[in-house]
Amino acid sequence: MSAAITPGEFDFIRQFLLQRSAIALDAGKEYLVEARVVPVLRKYKLTTIGELVALLRSPSGGAAERDLVDALTTNETYFFRDIHPFNALRLTVLPSLIQKRTATRRLNIWCAASSTGQEPYTIAMILREYFPALRGWDVRILATDLANHVLARAIEGKYNQIEVNRGLPAPLLLKYFKQEGPWWQISEELRKMITFRKLNLAEAWSVPPPVDLVFIRNVLIYFNVEMKKNILERIKRLLAPDGYLFLGSAETTVNLESAFKAVHINNTNCYQLG
């Protein structure tokens, strides 16, 4: 099976994705398509990308289209990714928000590209482990993603050895996971703290405001400038006036949405409404 992509095929897939999901694949991402498309070819018993293109062009290409979007947008994630935002959360952001919300005793958190779930579960672990007083509060974690298969994994909360080995402190692994054969199952207590829902950032969506904390890390890179601006503008409208926005460590709101100002805390940048 060859997954080598021709310029014409790459161009088609680029346009195709852009129209259907506003995801922009820049030139140079051919390798990404070649690698990620193999399981889709296998599933539809195709041998070349040309055949996949033909299928996508046909009236019966709907299922393949969804599978292709899934395959191309899977976000690699791990527990406590990049660690600094989570230190900031534990040391500065959560204490600050908790102090400000003592009247309502409510916290709304949104992980906007939660992939296989490690990020929202990391936040849930931090809340349980370091802020036991929040047990009596109404704390909601909404975790959304575009792709069905990663959402399913996140909901299940079952991780393999490699996944729990990376980024997760051993004492937290012992405390919040139960080993089941080769798998590590996240505790029911943490699972219950999170609502997982399918959501395509590029489409119309509604998340009930106000949200106190938004994590949208390493997913804006998939969108073109117009869509990035559009998404950040919509996030701006639902963020609490003193809420916090976290992007990926290499990302910024500069030139995209001027309402946000960067705040540097605990070796990381996050954003607040200025």
């Binding site: 791990y78 406590f80 660690i83 050895q161 490699i162 080995n165 990376r166 980024g167 402190p169 051993a170 004492p171 692994l173 012992l174 996971f177 139960k178 080993q179």
Partner: protein, 141 residues
Amino acid sequence: MMSEDAQSQPAEPNPGAPPKTVLVVDDSRAIRGILSRMMTELGFKPSGAEHGAAALSALDNGPAPDLILLDWEMPVMNGVEFLRALRQRPSADANIPVIMITTLNTAEQLSEALQAGASEYLMKPVEKGMLEAKLEFLGLR
């Protein structure tokens, strides 16, 4: 048995400061080599010992390392036995952070190692990214 991250760059977190030191304790020379190379890329200066008793001897005969990477199953003195001995020593040694790196991967074993005094635990096969994340947790990076 072990795989490497695609990106490996020599780290210079603090150019000008002497590199931190790490003692790599494993009865497999190949594994000591692989872990030593990863730690060098992460900005450490590695030395090795092939079992717990040799590691204690290294501590007797030189300055305390900043970190110990410790296998479990080794002849003469295994990892948990070494940990128990280490934590009995004066604080300069007893407080050295220890990452246990072993094929043993059950929750019971993880618990036993942490109770014996391991600071962290990694289940083989280990990639550099996993080591790096543990170092960040331990404040060594």
